[in-house]
Amino acid sequence: MVQPDLIEYKCPQCGGVLEFDSASQQMKCPYCDSVFSVEALQSKDEALENTVDGQWQPPETTFDESETANMGVYTCKSCGGEIVADETTGATHCPYCDNPVVLTGRFAGDLKPDLVLPFKLDKAAAKAALKQHMSGKRLLPRAFSTDSHLDEVKGVYVPVWLYDAKAHASLILDATKSATHDEGTERITETEHFTLQRVGDLRFESVPADGSSKMPDEMMESLEPFELSEAKPFQTAYLSGYLADRYDVDAARCESRAKERIRRSTEEAFLRTVTGYDSVEARVCQIRTTENRVRYALYPVWLLNTTWQGEHYQFAMNGQTGKFVGDMPIDKSLYWKLRVAWAAGIAAAVYAVAWLVSHL
């Protein structure tokens, strides 16, 4: 059996393992602070073009067959420790020596991503953003900020499908224009009815849909937009020091999600071309996409998991722009106290104004 290749990027100066540094956007040795450009390590990726996906080696443990069906075991090149990972894991750390490793087989051949957006913000920025996210939230239980435990912070490259398309739209609309005037003892309203036709094209680029079932779609969408102008051609070096998964939801299954967003935006864009009418209603709206293209990219996301009162809360930060999202609990008793106080205040103000007006 051929075991998938593991790559560790070693520092030529001291032999330590290189990691991708988001601040300098280069490969950096955490031991001797030596810095190397990502391009210099490009040769390591040349084998990706021809690499055959590795065969699974079943683990020699007492896992059930169902548990082992999607898992594989790898050997760390630094310490010889066993690394157990599922079939979608592309980059991880050795659980024994914490060395970052990249499973090249996950990104070889047809599975090779087209683009990667390198991390621009580090773990410290993610932790600071979490603190910032929790501050100033009136309805957040105070104990959440003080008592919640940050269980883990991990930088993850999330697999994303990017869809380009040309949307061709054909709309038939009903519109009206009205005018009112008085004549004698009658008020006359004259309404002109029109049928409008709008046919045209609209282009979309890089509409994302996340290709990982482990990442909630709504969370990934909440982190948008990502700045694709900073995307780089894929190199495994960027993954070193972070976690990465390859896709487990393929492009065909994600397509409907992207198409729905394209369809809605196309309809809105064409409706905006209609001006000069008092009312407009779409009677027929046909939208189809052509010149479809899909690319596979890896997007940087910091994931933070906390626990509070037995409940798990997940937060995410856009590893490029710093946008931070995550739902937090609401202090229900405070909510109702404030609601009652506001209601009483508004009621008193309304009554006072009515009383003053009645006495004018």
Binding site: L140, I188, F194, T195, D201, F204, D327, M328, W342, A354
Partner: protein
């Protein structure tokens, strides 16, 4: 001195008696247009309405104003029968012009303030729009009597807010509080689904290949203009308000 005082006292008693006589003799209802079904009953109501408060409550229905301004016609109708210095209120209706006026003398005190007159207008106009002249006079008498009672008790109509205002204020407060609390709630929930892709539209890529606007038809709707209600007019001796129906 005593004789003078006795003389003045007698004069006062006689004047008061004369007033009462005038009041008692002058009819509370004049239906020259013949619009009422029960004139005797309505006259009794009008007389009773003002009797306890030394105030005239009267109604006058005429076939037409004969080209005269309805405000002046109403004031003259009152002055001719009761005199400009007699405290009172008159409902004046002109049949052919379909206008009505409510005129009040300045000596009537706080009973018929602006709010009271506005309320009387709405009460009377509602009946007149249904051509219910008896109902208009009946409601006018009852409402005027109530307003005189309130004024006599020290709380003229409109001086106190209705208890319904409290309920209304609480309702508005309850609805109004939802807005700021909703905003506070949104701060804590930041994960949202995206339903559109406007960030990914290629700039200036919209091409309109066909843009046709075709006129189909024209529709016309005619609605009668609601009757206007006049504003309140005040001159030296009267305050008059009203409208058309």
């Amino acid at each position: 001195m005593k004789r003078r005082l006795r003389f003045l006292l007698c004069l006062l008693v006689v004047s008061w008696a004369l007033c009462l006589t005038v009041l008692a003799a002058a009819p509370a209802l004049q239906d020259e247009a013949g619009l009422l079904q029960d004139p005797q009953g309505l006259e009794a109501l009008l007389t009773q309405a003002g009797a306890d408060y030394d105030t005239v409550v009267a109604a006058c229905l005429v076939p037409s104003c004969d080209g005269q301004d309805p405000d002046l016609a109403a004031e003259e109708a009152y002055d001719r029968v009761y005199g400009p210095n007699t405290p009172g209120i008159l409902l004046f209706i002109a049949q052919s012009e379909r206008v009505y006026r409510i005129t009040v003398t300045q000596g009537s005190g706080e009973a018929f303030n602006d709010k009271a007159l506005a309320h009387l207008r709405s009460v009377v106009e509602k009946r007149l729009r249904q051509d219910d002249y008896d109902g208009a006079v009946r409601d006018f008498a009852a409402t005027a009597s109530e307003m005189l009672r309130l004024a006599a008790s020290g709380s003229p109509y409109g001086s106190k807010l209705s208890p319904l205002w409290i309920l209304g204020a609480l309702g508005l407060g309850s609805l109004g509080s939802a807005l700021p609390l909703g905003r506070l709630k949104q701060q804590v929930k930041s994960v949202r689904k995206k339903t559109e892709a406007k960030d990914y539209i290629v700039p200036d890529s919209l091409r309109l290949l066909r843009e046709e606007d075709t006129f189909v038809r024209k529709t016309t709707e005619r609605v009668p203009i609601p009757a206007k209600t006049e504003t309140v007019r005040t001159d030296g001796s009267h305050t008059t308000t009203g409208g058309s129906f």
